[in-house]
C-alpha cells in the first residue's frame, strides 16, 4: 500500500543524506583547490611566470609542380597581405574606413574579413586583403603610424605562370575554410592559409603541403616575442614532376581552334599522360586569393561550363570508337575469326522487329571482314557480333579492356562511365533488357558512357599489345631543391589481352581506317603511319540544330565528334583521344585535330632517315 507519510519521511531522509554527500564532496573539492592555490601556489606561480614559452607553427613552403621538361607550372611567389588585430585597432570601423582610403578594399574582402573576425579571438590578426600592390604597400608604410593594430605581413602565394593552360590538370589552391579544417581535423592546420581545391593540387595535397613544424617562442607578459627557444623543423612539401609536356599541351589547345571539347595524349608504353586539355579553360589564378562574385558568376553561367573537367567527370557515348574493342572481344571469345565475313545490306533486322538498324551507307557495304568492318565502320558487322556475343560476355570483355571502371589516374573524382548492362538498365530505368539494347550497345550507342580517359587508355592498351598501364600525371618527385628527382611509384600494369594474332588483326583494321577508310583524309602527308578510329555521339537530331552555334547550346545537348588513334603504327609512342563538341562527324573535325597534336609530338622525335624516306612518298 502507498503511504504518503512514510514516503515523505523516506524522501526527507534521502534528501538529507544526499545533501550531506554533496556538501562533503564540494568541501573536499574546495580542499583540493586550497592545496593547489595556497599550499602549492609558489610552484605554480613560478610555472606561470616561466610560461611564456609558446609553441608557434611553422608552415613549410608548398611543393612546386614542373612539366616533364622542367617548366614551372605552379610556383610560390612572395606577396604581402594586410592584417588587422581587432583588439589593438581601437575603433575598428574608423580603422577600416581609413584603410579603405589607402587601399582598394572590395565588398567581398570586407565580408570575408568580418566572418573571419567572428571566428577568431580579438587579439589574433585577421586578414583584410591579400596580394597588396607595390603602390598600396608604399602608401601603407607612410601612414602606418595612424593605424595601430594594422600590419603588412609577407607570405608566399601560389601562382600558375601558364594561366588557364593547366587549369584542369594542376588545378588550384584556395583559402582554407571551415570545411577544410573539419576534414584535416588537427588544430595545427589552422596555421595554413591555403589548401588544394582541385586537380593535382587537391589529389597531392598532403604531399605538396609537407609537415607543419613548431618553434617554441619566448614572450614577455604582454605577449611580445623575445626569442626562439627551440624548434621542431617543418618538413618541406614534395616538388612534383609531371609527365605532361607544356608545349604539347599548348599545341593541343591551338589545334582545337574555336571548338570546345577534350583531348588526351598518353605514352602507351608507360601510361604517362603527355597532354590533357578540357576546353574551354579558366584562369586558376583567379581562385587563389578568393575569386570575386562577378568572376565566379561569369564562369558558372557560361553554357560551355569552363569549370567542368570533361576528361575526368565528363562522359560521352563513345559511338564507333569502341568498335575495335568489340571486335577484339569477338576474336578473343572465339565467336569470330578475322577472316569471317558478314553481309551488310544497309539495314539490319532483328527477327520479329519491324524497325531496322541502319548502316552509315544507305545501300550497305556488301560482304566485309573484320579489317574492313573497322576501316569502313560497318554497323551491321557489330550488330550481329554483339548479338552473337550476348550482353554478358560483351560486358565481361569490355570491362577487362577498361570500360566501366576507373583508369587509375592520380586525380580525385574520376567518373567510371557506364558499361551497358541489364543490371544497369534495371536500376536506372526499372525496365527489362531487350535484344535491341544489345544491338545498340554493339555500335557504342544506347546506354554507353565513356570518359575520354577511358578511351585513351583502351587505345593505349591496344597499341601496347594488350598491356594496360594505369594512367598517371606524376612521374617523379623530390623533397626540396638539393635532392635528386626520385621516380614516382606507379601501380603495376595489367595484361588484358595476350593473343598477338588477334591484336594484330584489330590494329590492321585501325591502320586501314586511316589509309583508305573513314579517316583517310588525315593520313595524307604524314611522315609516320597512323592507326585510328572515328566515332560520333549524337545527342539531338542533327537536322534541327544545323544552324545553331555550338557555344549557345548546353553541354548535355551537344553532339560530339570523336577520334582515337595511336602512332607510329609499327612502334607506338603516342596514343590519343579527341572529343569535339558539336563537331559534326569524327572524321571531319576530331581527326584533323588529333593529327595536329600527333605531329607536334612526333615529327621532331622521328629518326631523320624515316622522316626523309617517307616524305618522298606522297
Amino acid at each position: 500500500m502507498k503511504s504518503a507519510h512514510a514516503e515523505a519521511d523516506q524522501f526527507r531522509r534521502r534528501a538529507v543524506i544526499g545533501f550531506f554527500a554533496i556538501s562533503v564532496a564540494l568541501f573536499g573539492l574546495s580542499l583540493g583547490y586550497f592545496r593547489l592555490q595556497v599550499l602549492q601556489h609558489e610552484e605554480y606561480k613560478t610555472r606561470s611566470e616561466a610560461n611564456r614559452i609558446k609553441p608557434r607553427p611553422i608552415v613549410p613552403a608548398r611543393g612546386l609542380i614542373y612539366d616533364r621538361n622542367g617548366k614551372l607550372l605552379a610556383d610560390n611567389v612572395p606577396a604581402y597581405r594586410l592584417e588587422v588585430v581587432p583588439e589593438e585597432a581601437g575603433n575598428l570601423e574608423a580603422t577600416l574606413a581609413g584603410l579603405a582610403q589607402l587601399v582598394a578594399i572590395s565588398e567581398d574582402e570586407l565580408q570575408q574579413f568580418h566572418s573571419a573576425r567572428k571566428a577568431t579571438r580579438s587579439f589574433r590578426p585577421v586578414v583584410l586583403k591579400l596580394r597588396l600592390s607595390e603602390e598600396a604597400r608604399a602608401r601603407l608604410a607612410v601612414n602606418r603610424y595612424r593605424f595601430p593594430g594594422v600590419d603588412v605581413v609577407p607570405y608566399l602565394t601560389r601562382r600558375y605562370p601558364y594561366g588557364n593552360l593547366f587549369a584542369h590538370v594542376v588545378g588550384y589552391v584556395g583559402r582554407l575554410d571551415a570545411n577544410d579544417l573539419a576534414t584535416l581535423g588537427d588544430s595545427k592546420y589552422s596555421a595554413l592559409t591555403h589548401v588544394g581545391k582541385s586537380g593535382l593540387e587537391k589529389s597531392y595535397e598532403a604531399r605538396l603541403r609537407g609537415e607543419i613544424g613548431y618553434e617554441n617562442v619566448e614572450q614577455n607578459v604582454e605577449g611580445r616575442m623575445l626569442r626562439i627557444v627551440n624548434n621542431e623543423p617543418a618538413e618541406p612539401g614534395l616538388d612534383l614532376q609531371l609527365s605532361i609536356d607544356a608545349d604539347l599541351q599548348r599545341a593541343a589547345v591551338e589545334a582545337f581552334g574555336d571548338f570546345d571539347g577534350a583531348a588526351i595524349a598518353v605514352d602507351p608504353r608507360t601510361g604517362e599522360v603527355l597532354a590533357m586539355v578540357s576546353l574551354p579553360m579558366f584562369d586558376p589564378n583567379l581562385f587563389v586569393n578568393g575569386i570575386s562574385h562577378t568572376d565566379y558568376a561569369a564562369l558558372t553561367t557560361n553554357l560551355s561550363r569552363p569549370l567542368f573537367d570533361r576528361n575526368l567527370h565528363g562522359g560521352t557515348v563513345p559511338g564507333s570508337t569502341v568498335k575495335p574493342f568489340i571486335g577484339l572481344a569477338g576474336l578473343e571469345s572465339g565467336v569470330r575469326r578475322p577472316e569471317d565475313r558478314i553481309f551488310s545490306s544497309g539495314v539490319f533486322h532483328l527477327p520479329g522487329v519491324k524497325r531496322g538498324f541502319n548502316d552509315a551507307h544507305a545501300g550497305g557495304h556488301g560482304w566485309v571482314d573484320l579489317r574492313e568492318s573497322i576501316a569502313q565502320s560497318v554497323n551491321t558487322y557489330y550488330y550481329q557480333l554483339a548479338l552473337d556475343l550476348g550482353i554478358k560476355r560483351f560486358d565481361d570483355y569490355l570491362y577487362r579492356y577498361g570500360f566501366g571502371r576507373p583508369t587509375g589516374i592520380d586525380l580525385i573524382g574520376e567518373s567510371e562511365g557506364i558499361l551497358p548492362s541489364p543490371e544497369f538498365k534495371r536500376k536506372r530505368f526499372k525496365s527489362d533488357w531487350y535484344p535491341g539494347d544489345t544491338v545498340n550497345a554493339g555500335i557504342g550507342q544506347g546506354f554507353w558512357v565513356t570518359t575520354p580517359l577511358q578511351l585513351v587508355q583502351a587505345t593505349a592498351t591496344l597499341a601496347q599489345d594488350g598491356v594496360r598501364h594505369p594512367l598517371h600525371l606524376t612521374r617523379a618527385a623530390r623533397q626540396g631543391f638539393q635532392q635528386p628527382w626520385q621516380p614516382w611509384p606507379q601501380s603495376a600494369a595489367e595484361v588484358v589481352a595476350s593473343d598477338l594474332g588477334n591484336l594484330q588483326a584489330i590494329k590492321e583494321g585501325m591502320v586501314a581506317a586511316v589509309t583508305h577508310g573513314t579517316a583517310h583524309a588525315i593520313g595524307i602527308g604524314a611522315p609516320y603511319l597512323i592507326a585510328g578510329k572515328t566515332g560520333t555521339a549524337q545527342h539531338i537530331s542533327r537536322r534541327t540544330n544545323a544552324s545553331m552555334s555550338p557555344h549557345n547550346l548546353p553541354l548535355g545537348l551537344r553532339h560530339q565528334a570523336l577520334f582515337i588513334a595511336y602512332a607510329p603504327a609499327d612502334a607506338p609512342s603516342i596514343a590519343i583521344v579527341v572529343v569535339v563538341e558539336h563537331g559534326g562527324y569524327g572524321a571531319t573535325t576530331a581527326a584533323p585535330i588529333a593529327r595536329k597534336i600527333m605531329d607536334a609530338w612526333l615529327i621532331k622525335r622521328l629518326p631523320v632517315s624515316t622522316n626523309t624516306a617517307s616524305a618522298k612518298t606522297p
Binding site: 504518503a4 523516506q10 524522501f11 534528501a15 592555490q37 602549492q40 610560461n51 607578459v221
Partner: protein, 365 residues
C-alpha cells in the same frame, strides 16, 4: 497604465522563490564578470551571454506559473515528444564533431538538453504512482526510461549530456528510497561494465581519458589543456591575480577559456576566495532546492525537484574536478558560469520547475 504594468510584472514574479533567485542571479553576475575578462574584453561575448540569461529567466518565470499537478498530467506527452526529437538529429542534425543540434531557423535546438528535464519528469511520474521504495518491476520501468534516451544521446555522440541524464535518473531512484542493498548491486554492476564501455568510446574520447591518466605524456597536444589549466588555477593563489590580470588566459595558454575552462579563469583571477564564494553559492542553491523538494505537496513534485537539485551539483563537481585534472575532460560546463546557451536555458528552466513546486506547496498540506 503604470499600475497595470506593475501588476502584470508583480503577478509574474509572485511565484518566485527569492532566496533561490538571488543566489542564481549572483552566479550569473559572476559569469558576466568572468566572461568579460575571458573574452579578452570583447563585449560581444558578454552581451550574448546576458541575452541567454534573460531568455533563460523568461522561461523560468513561465514555468513557475505551471502548477506541478498540470505538469504531471502533461509529463508522458512531453517526454514522448522530446524523445522523438532525438533520432531527428541523426537525420537533420548539425555540429562540428558530433551531431547534436537541430536548426530551427532562429536558434539551434539541442534535444539532449531537453531530456535533462524530461527524463526526471518521466521518472517522477512513473514512480509517484507506485509503491515506494520501488519494486523490481518499477525499477525495470525506470531503467527503460533512462536507458533509451541515454543510448540515443551517447550515439550522437554526446558523452557529457548522457552522463547528466543518467545522473538525474539515478538521483530520482535514490530519492524514491531504493534499498541500500540494491544500490550496492547496481553500483557493482556499473563499475564492472566500465571496461566494456571503453570499447564504445570514440578515439578522441579515449585520448582524453589517456591524457587524464598521464597529462605529461603529450604536453603539446591533448595534455596541454590540463597542465595549463592547473597552472592557471595554482598561480591564482589565495586572492587571485585580479580581474583581467590572468596571464594564463590572456596570453592564450588556457584553452576554451570561455566555455569548459571558464572556472579556471575565475580561479586564476579571483583566487581560492573566489572559488570558495562560488562553491558556497552553489551549495546554497542545491540546499535550498532540496529543502523545497522535501516540503512539496506530493510525490511527483518531490522526486522531480529533488532529482533536478542533485543533478545540478553534478555539473559543479564534475567541471570543478575536470579543470584541475581530477576527472577527464568530458565537456560538462560550470553551471551558469560557462559560456553557452542551451545549458543555461535548460538549467534555469529546471529552477523554474523547482520554484513552481515551492509556490504550489500550500494547497494540500
Amino acid at each position: 497604465m503604470i499600475t497595470w504594468l506593475r501588476d502584470i510584472t508583480l503577478s509574474f514574479l509572485d511565484k518566485v522563490d527569492w532566496p533561490l533567485m538571488l543566489a542564481l542571479c549572483a552566479v550569473m553576475a559572476a559569469s558576466l564578470v568572468v566572461q568579460h575578462s575571458a573574452g579578452g574584453g570583447d563585449s560581444h561575448v558578454v552581451i550574448a551571454q546576458a541575452a541567454r540569461f534573460i531568455a533563460g529567466l523568461a522561461v523560468m518565470l513561465l514555468l513557475t506559473r505551471i502548477s506541478p499537478a498540470r505538469l504531471r498530467i502533461w509529463t508522458p506527452l512531453v517526454f514522448a515528444v522530446t524523445l522523438a526529437l532525438l533520432p531527428l538529429v541523426f537525420v537533420i542534425g548539425s555540429g562540428r564533431s558530433a551531431r547534436l543540434w537541430i536548426n530551427l531557423g532562429f536558434f539551434y535546438l539541442q534535444p539532449g538538453e531537453l531530456l535533462k528535464l524530461t527524463v526526471p519528469m518521466m521518472l517522477a511520474w512513473h514512480l509517484h504512482r507506485r509503491v515506494l521504495p520501488p519494486t523490481w518491476t518499477s525499477l525495470a520501468g525506470c531503467l527503460a526510461i533512462i536507458a533509451i534516451p541515454v543510448a540515443l544521446i551517447i550515439l550522437q555522440p554526446d558523452l557529457g549530456t548522457g552522463m547528466l541524464v543518467v545522473a538525474s535518473g539515478v538521483f530520482a531512484v535514490f530519492l524514491a528510497g531504493i534499498g541500500w542493498g540494491r544500490i550496492g548491486l547496481f553500483a557493482g554492476m556499473g563499475l564492472s561494465s566500465l571496461p566494456l564501455a571503453w570499447l564504445f568510446l570514440m578515439p578522441y574520447q579515449k585520448n582524453r581519458i589517456l591524457t587524464f591518466i598521464n597529462p605529461e605524456s603529450d604536453p603539446l597536444g591533448a595534455g596541454w589543456n590540463i597542465i595549463q589549466s592547473k597552472i592557471a588555477i595554482g598561480s591564482g593563489g589565495l586572492f587571485g591575480k585580479g580581474w583581467g590580470q590572468g596571464s594564463q588566459a590572456h596570453l592564450d595558454f588556457l584553452p576554451e577559456h570561455t566555455t569548459d575552462f571558464a572556472f579556471s579563469v575565475l580561479s586564476e583571477e579571483w583566487g581560492w576566495l573566489g572559488v570558495s564564494v562560488l562553491f558556497a553559492l552553489y551549495l546554497f542553491i542545491v540546499g535550498r532546492s532540496l529543502w523545497i523538494a522535501t516540503n512539496a505537496r506530493d510525490g511527483y513534485s518531490r522526486l522531480l525537484a529533488g532529482a533536478l537539485a542533485m543533478t545540478f551539483s553534478v555539473y559543479v563537481l564534475v567541471n570543478g574536478s575536470m579543470v584541475v585534472g581530477l576527472l577527464p575532460v568530458v565537456g560538462i560546463p560550470m553551471p551558469l558560469l560557462s559560456y553557452g546557451g542551451t545549458s543555461a536555458v535548460s538549467l534555469l528552466a529546471g529552477f523554474g520547475i523547482i520554484m513552481s513546486v515551492h509556490a504550489h506547496r500550500k494547497f494540500m498540506s
